[in-house]
């Protein structure tokens, strides 16, 4: 069984300079209370790995505004002009990675593979500086795994041992990132007793989850 913790206590675990895998897609399925607590703590110099940086004032966008990030690895920053400004000014280093490649690189880290061999990005700028591996006369880009010091995961529901369920398009990167963080902190919308979630409904086994955020203090 896991102890639950407050978002504030969770944010204290995360040192400046850490690499964070954060779930979510344009703010949907992101761990919002954790993000607020990291902003509150005034974290600095973080490396963010996420699909996108959402919009200013929403989800991951708040980390951009608050100046918590020095590096971003993402597939899309187009809806957050602040990320683009900070990239141009040099405040944030941005690595743009094709979305399918990004999620598969995170998975590779999580499942102990040495990288992925993908056709995506061949013959484009994405190819620059990367190994090309030929398999049966077909060329593939070798893209390296992406590990995180922490994975910050939003879930629909957890049980007391940390098993997680996700809902609809709030799955996105969350189940994959849960594999690839040295420490995994999950923010579920609700927490139920062991046995309420059927084994067949579990998408992230609790053994992957290190910390569980308490339910919303106001019960909402």
């Amino acid at each position: 069984m896991k102890q639950s913790m407050t978002a504030g206590d969770a944010a204290e675990l995360i040192p400046d300079g850490a690499t964070l895998l954060i779930g979510g897609f344009m703010g949907v399925g992101s761990p919002h209370r954790l993000i607020d607590a990291i902003v509150e703590r005034g974290a600095k110099n973080l490396t963010l790995v996420a699909n996108d940086t959402a919009m200013p004032g929403k989800g991951i966008g708040k980390l951009v505004t608050a100046g918590c990030l020095s590096r971003v690895i993402a597939s899309h920053i187009g809806l957050n002009p602040e990320t683009q400004q900070k990239m141009i000014s040099g405040e944030i280093d941005v690595d743009l990675v094709p979305q399918g490649t990004l999620v598969e690189r995170i998975r590779a880290a999580g499942v102990g593979l040495g990288g992925i061999l993908t056709p995506t990005g061949l013959g484009t700028l994405v190819e620059n500086g990367k190994q090309i591996v030929t398999v049966n006369d077909q060329r593939f880009l070798l893209e390296e795994p992406i590990h995180g010091d922490f994975a910050l995961i939003a879930a629909h529901q957890a049980d007391y041992v940390g098993n997680l369920e996700y809902s609809l398009t709030a799955h996105n990167f969350n189940p994959i990132m849960a594999l690839a963080g040295k420490t995994v902190i999950a923010e579920p919308q609700s927490i139920v007793p062991v046995g309420v979630i059927s084994p067949d409904s579990v998408k992230t086994p609790g053994i992957l989850v290190d910390h569980l955020l308490e339910r919303q203090p106001d019960g909402s």
Binding site: M26, G27, A74, G100, E104, L122, L168, T169, H171
Partner: protein
Amino acid sequence: MEAKEIIARRVAQEIKPDTLVNLGIGLPSMVANYLPKEVHVFFQAENGVIGLGARPPEGMEDPDLTDAGGGFVTAVPGAASIDSAMSFGLIRGGHLDMTVLGGLQVDERGYLANWMVPGKMVPGMGGAMDLVAGAKQVIVAMVHTAKGKPKILHECSLPLTAQRRVSLVVTEMAVIEPTADGLVLKEAGPDTTVDEILSATEANLIVRGDVPKMRI
């Protein structure tokens, strides 16, 4: 009829029943509005649902159910939730029958550029590179020119999205099929002559006999 409506109506005709189709955000997403009622397809949004439905009724929006642009959607009966690894596994693995994407430039090789303008607009490629590399059919839906300048060129000057020949280019002026021989003009827009197309296009177009008008 507005240019975008012409394009969306014409692209809708390419969609076959019982297929899996990804519509990009913006103009491509309009295509769903013009699909004949009897054609059942599953729409996929790369953020993770197979069986994307229309906008939900006011007050019924679920914050956990949006399209790739972040807009509220519904799920049709028979829908399936998938995570991003499955979503792009389906795309890269050749399980996606068709993707409809916007374009900045297309060239005589049939190559598409649609993800950045160096020094001006660097939003990131999102899922575009995987979609163009992996979908069985890639349809580019775009207006024919940008501020009067051709977008269909001898060779793309902008960074490519993939080194892959797209399947079809649909604009308000023309339907163009990239082939090993070059770009073949298949149809002209409802109010467009072949001469008008040729003068709005930098790339060489192959014109074989009479070019029929789009029927939309």
